[in-house]
């Protein structure tokens, strides 16, 4: 039979002479009797009772343990304790010694912790087997006669250790092993003729359990640990038998007479006698020993023979430092070195044993990248062999590491579509699929559907549970859409891809009503969204249903689903959508829109302005399209109602435009009236040629907007062919009464018209007007006359002042009203003062304190005018603003804007302090010395200037004068206070001089044209200043002047 053993590999290298013959040196004279290893050294014992401790660098420490011989030794793996059994005396007297190899005495001998006799009962028997539990609390010694002694307690101390004879039988103990499980401690025992196990968990309650009736030779048993279940392995000629605490386990058939078993990691090393010397690999050039020993290393886990070689007789196998060391009878040391994983794998790859490689790699915790690489190579190999299914299985294991395109490319052939599908499915399951993969997979499915009829697979894939959703639904839908629309739809529905569902239904299936049903099952937000999105199409194709749905959506939306669950529904606030968003959907469907909006209004929705606008528009649109008169009326009524409804906030101007567009005159008129656009109403009537309405309109709104009449007039004249006389008359009467239009314009208007209007039509009007004009003219001329007279009077006065003598008759001081006494001061104004009175009263020494306030006012008035004169902009703006520009201009004339009296005044000012200060008459040629009467003279000059003013202007000025004097009177009291104040100031005469110098300086500045008053003039002190500013507006005379009295007006 060919295959009676496991597959064979060479995963180990056998190296000779690793110790360079050092061990052979040691044992030139003696024989190695015992070997063991652990705790980082190899322990060898010789027939002379010496023990050798070899370190890794083959440094050897020797000590004598026994006088005669060492028989057994056991080195604990992880502690420095070494237990030996040997003879110190001749005869049968085995001694157990426990050494602590970490403590050496002076002679280099390790500390011996314990020496005790190893005797079962009272018989002197050779010990045949020694086993120490790793915990150093248990030790078992087997004897040649079959007895077994178990030592409990710390093995390093004699006292605490208790021994117990467990067995007393005839067959030699050949093997012992402790095995510790989580709950129990077992002691396996092999003899020549039996295998058994003791449960020694509890002291004095050891339980023996018979495992087998066949035993094994010495050294041919080993405890195989590190597996899931530890086995006690026993080597026999036909096979290796395994035992568990429960009984027999597996058995591995390995031929050959076993010499030795050793366990290392997951390898079982079997040394057996071979009869095939030709296989020996010893490099001895001498004749190969006929009785070589066969080393077989089994990988129990993976079930391989991982090494097999023949070496001449082997003494022992030691495992230390992560490898096997083999000592042969010639004391040569071989090193059995495991190859690294990579070379193992490459070995396997060469043989195409990928599955084995994978198993090995996995068992050795190979990293995932490496594994993936193996899977890929395996897959490639299977591919080459044509085993595509197998290949795909391997490739599937690479998912996540290997680029899927590598695999996909290999299977793109249509023959392999099933395998490709498998791969892609796996890819999806593991969540590594991209869009393209999904697409490809779905395409595969559809193709498979077509050929094989496996329609289920697609469905299954699509309808996978939510949890295992491992593809992109969007792509799936997209792909399915082409291949199998039904699935696409299903998919969309299942995954609530509403958008897709609706799109598919609409675009591919044209099932609009279904779509509406579908949407109505959605939540409000979704429904709203999709209605906005697809409403257009839906309304076009299913107008009625869509409208119904929209009504629901905009008033009281509850999805059908929630309706079913009334409890939930009651808690939910019904949501409303904004109808505005849907209006555009009804683009070409006014009737539906009207229906929709009416419904909404009926439901009492508060709609926004644009909605109402739209409704209005569509009302009119429908209205415009209707043929039936009654229908039209109905709509017109509706429209008007809508317009008149105060709750409805439509945009008026837009409504107007809409009404205009549809020439819906009721609406137009209503809106005009609403907006107070009476002119528009009038115009509307005019265009309609509806004279009675025109009149009615004028009458109705004339008091609010008088120009209506004028307009009516114009329209009458221009547009109407035959203006009814009564209309015209009424218009004219109103115009005349309200003075809406000057007669001239009326006549003009009447004249321009293309219509025949006879004089008769307007006679009464004209006569009326003329009479009134005449009356007015007369009034004005009277006024003029009066003014003239005044002027004359003033002129005369001036003359007397200039040339006539003035008799100063005042006998009393104007200040203190006591009879005058010299020294006195007299003014031309007929006021006389005591000098001391004057000095205490006067503000300025050359002005009469009594007249001063008045004069000052006048001066300021003039100054203000002067000031205003430069305000060209004010003038222009007034001119522009004024209805009657002429009157503004006239007024400015009146103020003397265009006069040049300024010069005169400057002189006056300059020459004033004649009597006290030396005057400088540098610039002005016309300077006169007025002396004490300067003030009066000043006034005179002023009057003179005024004479030059044109009469009409003069009239204005008179009025002004009156006004200002009246104001002056009011302000006098204030003035008096000022007087007092200033008089106290003036009392200080020392200040006086510099003041006048100041003036001189001002004067010189005046040459440049500046008003010397400007610097003195304090706007804030002047009580008239503000009045002057306000003058144009507030002057009560002004209006009269402008409108009625001014003869130039009109």
């Amino acid at each position: 039979m060919a295959f009676l053993e496991w597959r064979k590999f060479h995963f180990f290298d056998l190296k000779k002479d690793v110790d360079e013959g050092k061990i052979a040196e040691l044992f030139k004279e003696s024989k190695v009797t015992v070997t063991c290893s652990g705790n980082n050294h190899i322990v060898l014992g010789d027939s002379n009772g010496q023990i050798f401790l070899c370190s890794r660098s083959w440094h050897v420490r020797t000590f004598r343990a026994y006088e005669l011989t060492v028989e057994l030794a056991h080195q604990l793996r992880n502690s420095p304790l070494l237990v030996t059994i040997g003879q110190d005396e001749t005869g049968i007297n085995p001694l157990i010694k426990v050494w602590d190899t970490s403590r050496f005495d002076k002679n280099g001998t390790p500390f011996c912790c314990r020496i005790s006799r190893a005797i079962p009962g009272n018989r002197p028997v050779h010990a045949s087997c020694l086993c120490v539990h790793e915990g150093a609390q248990l030790m078992a010694v087997g004897f040649v006669d079959g007895s077994l002694v178990l030592y409990r307690g710390d093995i390093t101390r004699d006292r605490s250790s208790k021994q117990k004879l467990l067995r007393d039988a005839s067959s030699t103990v050949t093997g012992l092993a402790f095995k510790t499980t989580s709950t129990n401690i077992f002691l396996f025992l092999a003899t020549d003729s039996a295998v058994m196990v003791y449960n020694i968990t509890h002291k004095d309650k050891e339980v023996k359990f018979h495992l087998d009736n066949i035993g094994c030779a010495k050294k041919c048993s080993v405890l195989a640990e590190s597996m899931i279940e530890s086995h006690f392995m026993v080597g026999r000629n036909d096979a290796i038998y395994c035992y568990t605490a429960d009984g027999r386990g597996p058995c591995y058939a390995v031929d050959g007479e076993k010499v030795m078993l050793e366990w290392f990691r997951s390898y079982l090393v079997i040394i057996s006698k071979t009869t095939r010397p030709n296989l020996a690999i010893t490099n001895d050039n001498q004749s190969a020993p006929s009785q070589g020993d066969l080393i077989t290393v089994l990988d129990i886990h993976n079930k391989f023979i991982v090494f097999s070689a023949t070496v001449s007789s082997i003494r022992s196998v030691l495992n230390e430092w992560g490898a096997f060391y083999i000592l042969d009878n010639d004391n040569r040391l071989y090193h059995l070195d495991e190859k690294d994983l990579q070379s193992k794998l490459s070995l396997l790859f060469k043989k195409n044993l990928y599955d084995v490689a994978i198993r090995i790699a996995k068992s050795q915790q190979y990293d995932s990248d490496g594994l993936v690489n193996i899977f890929r190579q395996y897959g490639d190999h299977l591919c080459d062999k044509g085993d595509y299914v197998g290949a795909i299985e391997q490739y599937i294991k690479t998912i996540g590491k290997l680029e899927p395109s590598y695999v996909i490319r290999k299977f793109l052939d249509s023959q392999h579509i099933e395998k490709l599908t498998m791969y892609l499915e796996a890819l999806h399951k593991q969540g590594h699929a991209t869009e393209d993969h999904t697409t490809l997979l779905l395409n595969c499915y559809t193709k498979l559907n077509n050929t094989v009829g496996q329609s289920n697979s697609l469905k299954e894939f699509i309808l996978m549970k939510e949890g295992d959703l491992n593809y992109d639904v969007d792509i799936a839908i997209k792909v399915c859409r082409q291949g199998s629309p039904a699935e696409a739809l299903m998919l969309a529905k299942k995954h609530e891809k509403h958008d897709w569902y609706i799109k598919l239904q609409i675009e591919d299936h044209q099932k609009y009503v279904d779509v509406l049903d579908y949407i109505s099952n959605l939540t409000f937000e979704n429904a709203e969204f999709y209605m906005k999105k697809y409403g257009n199409i839906l309304i076009q194709n299913a107008p009625y249903e869509s409208t119904q749905f929209l009504k629901r959506l905009c008033t009281n939306y509850n999805s059908h689903n929630s309706l079913d669950n009334s409890l939930v529904g009651s808690f939910e606030l019904s949501q409303k959508s904004d109808p505005e968003d849907y209006i555009h959907l009804f683009l070409n469907n006014s009737e539906r829109l009207v229906e929709f909006l009416e419904y909404l209004i009926g439901e009492g929705c508060i709609l926004s302005t644009p909605v109402y606008n739209t409704l209005l528009e569509h009302y009119l649109h429908v209205w415009g399209n209707l043929e039936n008169v009654s229908e039209r009326n109905k709509y017109a009524q509706k429209t008007l109602k809508l317009l008149q409804n105060p709750d409805i906030k439509y945009d008026k101007s837009q409504a107007l435009v809409v009404c205009h567009m549809h020439s819906f005159s009721e609406g137009i008129l209503y809106l005009y009236e609403e907006q107070k656009l009476y002119q528009q109403i009038l115009r509307h009537h005019i265009t309609k040629n509806d004279t009675s309405s025109i009149l009615a309109c004028c009458r109705r709104f004339g008091h609010q907007e008088p120009t209506l009449w004028v307009q009516a007039l114009w329209s009458c004249v221009r547009d109407t062919k035959n203006p009814p006389i009564d209309l015209l008359n009424e218009i004219l009467t109103v115009i005349a009464k309200e003075r809406l239009l000057s007669p001239q314009l009326v006549v003009d208007a009447l004249g321009t018209g293309s219509v025949d209007i006879t004089l008769g039509h307007i006679r009464s009007y004209l006569t009326n007007e003329l009479q009134q004009e005449q009356k007015k003219t007369k009034e004005i001329s009277d006024l003029t006359h009066n003014y003239r007279k005044d002027t004359e009077k003033l002129k005369e006065q001036l003359e007397t002042l200039k040339s006539g003598t003035i008799v100063i008759q005042g006998s009393r001081c104007a200040a203190c009203h006591h009879p005058l006494e010299l020294p006195t001061i007299h003014f031309l104004c007929q006021h006389s003062y005591h000098q001391h009175c004057f000095q205490s009263f006067c503000e300025e020494e050359n002005e009469c304190p009594a007249c001063q306030p008045e004069n000052k006012n006048l001066l300021e008035l003039l100054k203000a005018r002067e000031y205003n004169k430069d305000l060209h902009e004010t003038f222009h703006s007034q001119l522009e603003k004024a209805q009657d520009g002429f009157s503004v201009a006239a007024e400015y004339f009146g103020r003397g804007v265009f006069n040049k009296y300024k010069v005169i005044r400057d002189e006056v000012r300059e020459t004033a302090p004649a009597d006290k200060i030396e005057k400088k008459r540098v610039v002005e040629p016309e300077v006169r010395n007025y002396g004490l009467g300067a003030e009066a003279r000043l006034r005179q000059v002023e009057k003179q200037g005024q004479v030059l003013i044109p009469t009409s202007e003069g009239r204005v000025r008179v009025q002004e004068h009156r006004y200002s004097s009246s104001l002056e009177a009011k302000n006098r009291r204030v003035r008096v206070q000022e007087h007092r104040y200033s008089s106290s100031l003036e009392a200080n005469i020392s200040n006086y001089v510099p003041k006048s110098y100041e003036r001189k300086r001002e004067y010189s500045g005046d040459i440049a044209g500046t008003n010397p008053f400007e610097s003195d003039y304090d706007e804030s002190k002047n009580p008239f200043a503000s009045e002057d500013d306000d003058y144009d507006e507030n002057n009560p005379f002004r209006d009269d002047c402008d409108k009625n009295s001014n003869p130039f007006y009109k």
């Binding site: 004095d204 309650k205 339980v207 279940e229 597996p250 058939a253």
Partner: protein
């Protein structure tokens, strides 16, 4: 893991009938299409529950090849149940059943429960042995019969569990001497009336222990 009983099984049959696969399917619930030959005896274990009792099944999966017959024979003894497997797609495996049966009867204890298994029932197209033939054979020799598929796992559980049930019944009937290890039945530690670990039974512990072997 504690158990009430431990039953030992042996699976026998010609090479390649799927013995190892049956075991793998039963213990690991997987199927390995390519399987190396069994060299010697492989071993699997699984807990099942019968009649509310935990029962541990220890199964020896033997090599079918003639060369290993001597090894496998030693396993008959100490097995409480045997699964005699043939391949329904290969008639010769069916023909060899008599030999196997004789072998088993000869080396095992007489009470061993033997179940006849026609494996590879998934390969219906290649069937060579009719189900009826199997049934007839089983009837004739007093076996329980079942067709299984290690690949699809059909009837695999049942095969093992039914066998276990039968053994359990026999125990209840007292046919088996449960104290005799050689019968392939072991009483679990906590069910053993002579469990030495139980307090109070300490005094008799030592002698009981030795008496049970």
């Amino acid at each position: 893991m504690s158990y009430a009983y431990l039953f030992k099984y042996i699976i026998i049959g010609d090479t390649g009938v799927g013995k190892s696969c049956l075991l793998l399917q039963f213990t690991d619930k997987r199927f390995q299409p390519v399987h190396d030959l069994t060299i010697g005896v492989e071993f699997g274990a699984r807990m099942i529950t019968i009649d509310g009792k935990q029962i541990k099944l220890q199964i020896w999966d033997t090599a079918g090849q003639e060369a290993f017959r001597s090894i496998t024979r030693s396993y008959y003894r100490g097995a409480a149940g045997a699964l005699l497997v043939y391949d329904i797609t290969r008639r010769e495996t069916f023909n060899h059943l008599t030999t196997w049966l004789d072998d088993a009867r000869q080396h095992s204890n007489s009470n061993m429960v033997i179940m006849l298994i026609g494996n590879k029932s998934d390969l219906e197209s290649r069937r060579e042995v009719k189900k009826e033939e199997g049934e007839a054979f089983a009837r004739e020799h007093g076996l329980v019969f079942m067709e299984t598929s290690a690949k699809t796992a059909a009837n695999v559980e049942e095969a093992f569990i039914n066998t276990a049930k039968e053994i359990y019944e026999k125990i209840q009937e007292g046919v088996f001497d449960i104290n005799n290890e050689a019968n392939g039945i072991k009483i679990g530690p906590q069910h053993s009336p002579t469990n030495p670990s139980l307090p109070g039974a300490g005094g008799a512990g030592g002698s009981q222990g030795s008496s049970c072997c």
